[in-house]
């Protein structure tokens, strides 16, 4: 509700006299206290409260706005330590965007305070701004530690509190605070024994006291009780310093905090120090000052040493490792325990013994659901299982303190389990954990002979599922027969309890059920026989699973004993991987879905009511058979819906966020430059395409699925961004808009690129597929790469029918299946295209 014109001037015009009187009265009261030598904590708190009353009155008189506002006291005002001439630090919070009404309300709050001559240090924020830390403004962040609500909407204030108070912010503020303390000490030559000390900034003065309290508040509040100095002595020191400061403000009539020789005499008199001569009284005053200042510095020094680095809710990093700040709270909150282990991975340190003992003592009281009560906890579990240095050590600690078996009950069944055979050298539980260590070793600095496997790991979309599969792959060994079948059964019991998605369940089940398959084929079958490779490729279906199974086999074989994974075996495994990968990625264009193919029966039988069987059959016909392995039934039905009633120049689109990435599905009808136009539009919005598949059916229907990263958070931050992107895709595909025009703004980043890290590879292959020339491209991953590659192909008259897009670390690996005039390229055409591609990839400018 906005205030009618003119009335908003009311508070400005009518109330200064009232406020002025109120302020004068409050100041008179404080002056009296100061002159009696009592201008310390209690007096300043009373003065702050008087200011609160004024602020509330002003807020009430200010025009209302539709969106909530909160006025928050921060800094010294937040601590209720306002001196006579202190600045008034205020934060004015708005629930949403600042419009004209909000500007008017803001003026109506601030002007009356200015009019009465107060010095206001005000900050204005929209609540969403607290989602990002203002790292360039450490003083403001510190002032927020003392925030308290004064007027306005309490709910909005609570939102601010929860946005501000989390481990990441706390750790940053403590870091910045420590840097500022060092800087301030350096300014004062690191000594508190100043003859004319600054009672606010000098070592041992008020700023140190505040710093010590901030550190405790941000790391471990119990430090205040446990410090080297008794809390009553600290309070006494604070009261003394404030009483002195009050006198300085009163005498100098301004915000002056230096205790000069002249002011020392006045302060000694006001505070009633005895002595026949001023010098005697001053010496007694300063002796007290230094005594209190020493207490303050000792307290701060201890606090800085003892304070843990905030590492999560109720977690801090100390020299012993990650510990719980409040042990009693931790004992009844098992849902916070995993975060302790995650923090150790994030901070590269162990879990403190005190935390491990607590978990050892209480783990048995809890069930799986207690550890992962909410979807956020279950997501955190999967994040924790991402292969990273230290994961094996953490899992071993969890196992040692009995936690792993409580979190994963199937794992309990193989604790200390001994299975005698000729190969295994460790108990089943340790073998299992060693598989994870072997995987983890591929993450950072793998040995030269493992680099090729390490690159597979970098390419995995969900490597945590591989770790989960390894963790459960041998749990069936508590029985003596068919352990992989029993492992699958036991793993299934876990899936629901940790909230695994259907797709993830299928992957984990596949890996556990087939964890011996690849070693059997690689080491015991004739892998030079194409039929053996074809059958193995049929088993794994898609590259993602092949990579996972290959890594699982490597990690599993290596964990049997130190001698099991010989270079000889590693070579056999790699060769099977390469042969199968080539089979999956190069030949699939020749295998098309036929009408009435038996594999389609389940898909047709379970069709949703809005789709007819004929719709589904028509859609599937002529797509590569691989399509059925890539997508689950729900995704296929969605694609069928998108393909209904599609006409030339139309695009039907669907997009959703999947983890950190977005997934865009495009259905349209084939035409020249289509693929480069679509990928160009994504690049023009700053989207980095990570993975994807582009397929064309024999009847010209195009289905492209892109996964891309939105580093600039365009889709997240802009309302209507998705619709805007869809509209541009429509316009570009239909020819109403040019993608080249759109990309002009990004030309600098597209064409004036950073130096190449790897020399691009272009490889043309006319033998692997009966129908297509296959172009493999490996190049630095960068914005607009797919656009430039596919544009060159179209410019050379080629039709892009199938594309596989992969990103491995910083390398893009793209496989194009192309034709020209409906046939494979001749060797001259291949040479020309390859040279053109190489030129563009090596930085040659391609006139659009």
């Amino acid at each position: 509700m906005s205030d009618p014109a003119g009335t908003s001037q009311g508070p400005l015009r009518q109330q200064p006299a009232t406020f002025s009187t109120q302020l004068d009265e409050a100041r008179r009261e404080l002056r009296d206290d100061i002159l009696r030598g009592h201008g310390g904590r209690a007096a300043l708190a009373r003065f702050s409260d008087r200011l609160d009353t004024m602020v509330r009155q002003i807020f009430t008189a200010a025009p209302r706005t539709e969106q909530p506002i909160a006025v928050v006291a921060i800094g010294g005002y937040g601590r209720r330590q306002l001196c006579l001439h202190s600045d008034i630090d205020l934060l004015v919070l708005f629930a949403g965007h600042l419009g004209a009404d909000e500007e008017q309300a803001l003026r109506a709050i601030l002007h009356p305070l200015w009019d009465v001559g107060l010095v206001i240090g005000h900050q204005v924020r929209e609540i969403d701004e607290f989602e990002r830390l203002e790292v360039d403004n450490p003083e403001f962040l510190m002032a927020l530690v003392d925030a308290r609500p004064v007027a306005g909407d309490r709910g909005l204030y609570d939102r601010f509190e929860s946005a501000f108070h989390h481990a990441g912010t706390h750790a940053h503020v403590v870091g910045a605070l420590n840097a500022l303390i060092d800087e301030r000490y350096a300014f004062f030559n690191s000594t508190l024994y100043q003859l004319e000390p600054e009672v606010k900034e000098s070592p041992g003065a008020l700023r140190d006291l505040t710093a010590a309290r901030w550190i405790a508040a941000l790391t471990d509040p119990s430090l205040l009780r446990r410090g080297v100095e008794d809390s009553s002595r600290i309070e006494e020191a604070e009261d003394f310093l404030l009483r002195v400061r009050s006198i300085l403000h009163l005498e100098s009539k301004r915000n002056q905090n230096q205790l000069t020789h002249q002011l020392q005499e006045i302060a000694a008199d006001v505070l009633g120090y005895p002595g026949a001569f001023p010098q005697q009284r001053v010496e007694r005053l300063m002796s007290d000052y230094f005594r209190h200042a020493r207490i303050v510095t000792r307290s701060l020094t201890w606090m800085r040493k003892a304070a843990p680095t905030p590492a999560g809710v109720n977690l801090g990093k100390t020299s012993d490792g990650i510990k719980f700040i409040d042990m009693r709270q931790a004992a009844v909150q098992p849902a916070t325990w995993l975060a302790a282990f995650q923090a150790t991975v994030d901070h590269s340190c162990p879990v403190a013994d005190s935390a491990l003992s607590l978990m050892r003592q209480y783990a048995e009281r809890f069930r799986v659901e207690d550890f992962f009560p909410t979807p956020a906890h279950r997501t955190a579990l999967l994040r924790f299982l991402k292969p990273a240095p230290g994961l094996y050590s953490r899992l071993s600690e969890m196992h040692d303190c009995g936690l792993l078996g409580r979190m994963f009950p199937p794992f309990q069944a193989i604790t200390y389990r001994v299975v005698r055979d000729f190969f295994h050298k460790y108990t089943v539980d340790e073998h299992t954990l060693l598989t994870i260590r072997n995987l983890e070793r591929l993450v950072a600095h793998p040995p030269p002979d493992r680099e090729r496997f390490s690159s597979l790991l970098q390419d995995l979309r969900e490597p945590e599922l591989l770790v989960l599969s390894l963790l459960l792959h041998d749990v069936g060994k508590w029985r003596d027969d068919d352990h992989h079948v029993e492992s699958v059964r036991m793993a299934r019991e876990m899936f629901g309890r940790i909230g695994l998605s259907q797709e993830a369940r299928e992957t984990v089940e596949f890996l556990i059920a087939n964890h011996l398959a690849m070693s059997q084929v690689a080491f015991r079958r004739d892998t030079e026989d194409p039929e053996i490779v074809r059958r193995f490729a049929e088993l794994v279906g898609v590259e993602e699973r092949l990579k996972m199974l290959c890594l699982m086999t490597l990690a599993d074989v290596e964990a049997v004993s130190t001698e099991t994974l010989t270079p000889w075996r590693a070579e056999l495994l790699w060769r099977l991987y390469v042969d199968t990968y080539n089979h999956l990625t190069l030949g699939y264009g020749d295998e098309r879905i036929e009408p009435n193919q038996p594999g389609n029966n389940a898909l047709l039988a379970n069709h949703p009511p809005d789709l007819a069987e004929a719709d589904i059959s028509r859609f599937l016909e002529g797509l590569p058979r691989r399509y059925l392995r890539l997508f689950d039934n729900d995704a296929i039905y969605r694609h069928v819906r998108l393909a209904r009633d599609i006409h030339p120049d139309e695009v039907h689109l669907w997009m959703e966020q999947r983890g950190d990435a977005w997934e865009l599905t495009v259905v349209t009808l084939d035409k020249p430059f289509l693929f480069s136009n679509i990928s160009g539009v994504l690049s023009s919005f700053g989207m980095d395409i990570l993975r994807g598949h582009a397929m064309t059916s024999s009847n010209g229907l195009v289905l492209d699925v892109f996964q891309f990263a939105d580093a600039e958070r365009f889709l997240e931050l802009n309302p209507g961004a998705k619709e805007q992107m869809f509209s541009v895709l429509n316009d570009v595909v239909s020819g109403k808009a040019s993608v080249t025009e759109r990309l002009r703004g990004r030309e600098r980043s597209l064409f004036n690129r950073r130096p190449m890290r790897v020399k691009p590879v272009v490889h043309a292959d006319n033998t692997s597929s009966k129908r297509y020339t296959i172009i493999d491209i490996i190049a630095d991953d960068e914005l607009g790469l797919l656009y430039r590659i596919s544009r060159v192909m179209s410019q050379n008259g080629c039709d892009v029918d199938l594309v596989l897009i992969t990103t491995e670390g910083r390398r893009a690996i793209d496989v194009f299946h192309i034709t020209k005039g409906g046939r494979k390229l001749s060797s001259t055409e291949q040479t020309e295209l390859s040279a053109h591609l190489q030129h563009v990839l090596e930085g040659g400018y391609e006139a659009a």
Binding site: F523, R524, R525, D526, T527, E528, T566, W568, R569, E571, L572, R575, V578, D579, Y581, N582, V761, V762, H763, D765, D776, I777, I778, I813
Partner: protein
């Protein structure tokens, strides 16, 4: 006595072992080896890049047999390890002068 040193495809080891067992030969040494003969490796392509697989993984099986059954043993190895394709391997036959049991120091009388 003869030392039969056979280089075979990795997936053929079990078949060779079974064939030798059938004619009464049970002691053998099996080693993972890499090498090439006429097969000379081949060129594989992974992600557009060629790489040369010059040393192929093979298994080496060594058995010491008496002269009287050497021919049968050689035949058993060849029949069980053969696929008919290039890369099936070789059998080397070496004369053996004497053999001793390490545990007892006793000279074998084969």
């Amino acid at each position: 006595m003869k030392l039969l040193k056979s280089i075979v495809r990795p997936n053929k080891v079990d078949e060779v072992k079974d064939a030798l067992t059938k004619i009464g030969i049970s002691g053998m040494t099996v080693t993972e080896v890499r090498g090439h003969g006429k097969q000379k490796g081949h060129t594989a392509i992974y992600r557009g890049k060629e790489y040369n697989v010059s040393l192929l993984p093979k298994m080496q099986i060594e058995v010491v047999v008496s002269d009287s059954i050497a021919d049968d043993a050689i035949k058993a190895i060849i029949e069980s390890a053969r696929t008919g394709e290039i890369g099936d391997g070789r059998v080397f036959v070496l004369p053996v002068g004497e053999t001793y049991k390490i545990r007892t120091g006793e000279k074998d009388s084969v």
